[in-house]
Symmetry: C2
Subunit: 433 residues, 2 copies
């Protein structure tokens, strides 16, 4: 494989963030070649032992979201620690002077004090709500109507989805905001003060798809549709051997492919006639979704998964098998072109990690291990701030920084009993089996 | 309000995309001040009537995702149309020469032919899978294990979430990729060929949170937990008047706040003793989630929503009410600082639309109407390519472009019968009621 281009080589971002959104912004930039320095208090931030944990008791979550970054531990609550952080965030360099902060309701460092040190600093403040009050993905999602639309038909209560989608999305909004600010700085010489609230990302997300306007025009929320896709035809089917698949006919061509492979053309022509419908139109496919699904269901129920797969592939139907997370991991291992690959994570061991999905000049970027907590404290303070070993030693003695030892398992809680240590990996599931 | 900065003023992106991911990339860039020219075939792309529809039969989805762009209609399947598109995508300008394409399995225009016209062109090809085979959010999500983890406990079948999270996320990955490529071009003078597959974004998304590695170590998928948050404590509760809320105790401080306001400290201290647990640890809160929820539930069930809200707010508990989409719209209208605001969308009328969530120097960007389809064909061909009215007229006669008429309601399907025309808007719900 040709080495992946590092288009953001020369950039340096100081990341004072935790959990998903902030760290995933830094991850995306690191995967494009930026030097991302994650700063945590000695002992780790509040996400340092966030689940899922490995059988060694380390956080697979933390390891996944901090791949390819440098880790520095500084206690920003001390006067000296604040000073170090301020110096790091405003250190010279054309691609430096970028600070990401996700303290809730207040700042580790304010824009004004950063700017006093470096006029063109770029400061991003990420938080739950724009008024400074706390909120997380799990609370925000409840407020934007999604759990009332998710889940099986007939369920009365809200159904949370497990994916922290607003966190992931906010992370990429932050990454694009930093890049926009850098581009602006390259062109105009000015810094920028950016702020982003998860709550605003979520409301804009549902608003951009027209969901807010729809609810107002409808005079109430859209009703829950189970696994049916909204506004066109798409739903899950079960094969004779109990496998489930998601089948979608979003466009007219996809609808024709599905109808033809299931040899239901005459049935649907008669139905269109009887019901005054035109199933080439997505709206009519949606209105008649239950009827369409009922007509198609026996075709799937009469065939095993292998047969269904072969016929759907040949007919170019748009579909996917449902895979559980372990099956998804196996499929990824069986696929040489996958964005996931085995990687040796220091402190944990070999694990399946994911690289950069964006391909640049034909290549992605393979996963790179996360640092041990505090691994780069000494190097960063020495290289970027010119501190001597003695100065760093004194800071360590004063509890301001910690240069090593944070990566040890001491004082950790035992790992989840749900995780058997050394459970064997299963391999070899074909990519779409 | 001070006018919002336009940090990407001077940029021009030609967007040949449809549905969510590609258009949401263009939307994010347009909301930062870029000139985004969406190119569709005459009559509209395959998402032109995507649901939700307004009571006028227009797509609220299309209007939401194309806010603030220019719209040009060119039939790229004709020789002359391809030539026009090529010329637009490679037109001169320091911030121009950027083309986003999401044709499945092939290209509207290849990188090589674009580059032959403009050496430093930036080309992004967005598709379902990296091998060119089609996939959409709804099929991809089935393959990455999420529907097996979503939904009420006890449900056996996969539960799709309704939010096209991978689409939204892919859009922001594209936006950040374009900005990274522009920054790289500013600094190095080189263009870039970028490719992104939804399937890779989804796999990287679950991988980055450690979910793939966890499933392998566990030897199987994580089991479904209903509305419980994974790895810490968070679940929904019902008040005496039937309102539901999501309550989260992710950090130790949040746990203390919840325990104290519900006056359950002694109960949990006794439980910790009896069960050998330490509820200040998120792992123990997760393991004992059912017990914790059962202890707390009566407190919520004995109080009405107003009382619960007041007590939780005062105690700084992390929580949100569940709002359905209509309630979310009302709350947004009642909140003067909301990213959502009423906007007059030509062809549809006043509706609740959303602006830019990212605040720059203290201000967001209010929503700007979407164009009528083809509204800017004549202006763009004239201004950017120097075509005369006569030349444009000949192209229109040949069916290559259409300068007007696409915005009319003729030949449209009737709007959804589920949408009562002119349903009154309800206002005045307090922001967090």
């Amino acid at each position: 494989m040709t080495p992946s281009p590092q288009p953001l080589g020369g950039l340096r971002i100081v990341e004072g963030a935790s959990f998903v959104a902030g760290p995933s912004a830094g991850l995306a930039l690191a995967q494009l070649g930026a030097d991302v320095i994650r700063v945590d208090p000695p002992g780790g931030g509040s996400d340092f032992l966030r689940w899922p944990l490995s059988s060694t008791g380390d956080s697979l979550f933390w390891a996944g979201l901090n791949k390819g970054k440098r880790s520095v531990t500084i206690d920003h609550r001390t006067e000296q620690g604040r000073e170090l952080l301020l110096a790091l965030a405003t250190a010279p360099g054309r691609g430096a002077g970028i600070f990401l902060d996700n303290m809730v309701g207040r700042h580790r460092l304010t824009y004004d004090e950063l700017r006093a040190r470096r006029e063109d600093v770029i400061h991003v403040h990420l938080q739950g709500r724009s008024d400074g009050s706390p909120a997380v993905d799990y609370t925000i999602n409840a407020e934007v109507g999604v759990p009332q639309m998710t889940g099986p038909q007939g369920v009365e209560q809200p159904v949370n989805h497990v994916l922290p989608a607003w966190d992931l999305l906010s992370g990429m909004v932050v990454a694009s905001g930093i890049l926009a600010a850098l581009l602006h700085r390259e062109r105009e010489g000015q810094g920028a003060q950016l702020e982003l609230a998860l709550a605003d990302v979520a409301l804009a997300g549902v608003g951009n798809m027209g969901w807010l306007a729809e609810a107002e025009m409808r005079g109430g929320p859209r009703v829950r549709q189970g696994n049916h896709m909204y506004g066109s035809f798409g739903v899950d089917f079960e094969t004779s051997d109990g496998r489930r698949l998601m089948v979608v006919a979003l466009t007219e061509g996809q609808w024709r492919a599905l109808r033809d492979v299931t040899e239901t053309g005459a049935v649907f022509a008669a139905l269109e006639q009887a019901l005054g419908a035109d199933l080439s139109q997505e709206g009519d496919r949606y209105r008649l979704r239950e009827t369409i699904a009922a007509v198609l269901r026996p075709w799937f129920a009469q065939r095993d998964f292998g047969t269904v797969r072969e016929l759907l592939e040949r007919a170019k139907v748009l579909w996917s098998p449902y895979l559980d997370m372990a099956e998804a991991a196996r499929a990824a291992r069986a696929d040489e072109t996958s964005v996931a690959a085995e990687m040796d994570q220091p402190g944990i061991g070999p694990l399946l990690a994911t690289g950069r999905p964006l391909r640049w000049a034909g290549t992605g970027a393979p996963p790179v291990p996360a640092p041990r907590l505090g691994e780069h404290t000494e190097g960063v303070l020495s290289d970027l701030l010119g501190l001597t070993s003695e100065e760093i030693g004194r800071l360590q003695d004063a509890g301001v920084v910690r240069v090593s030892g944070d990566g040890s398992q001491q004082s950790r809680r035992p790992s989840s009993p749900e995780l058997p240590p050394g459970a064997p990996r299963q391999r070899g599931l074909p990519a779409r089996a």
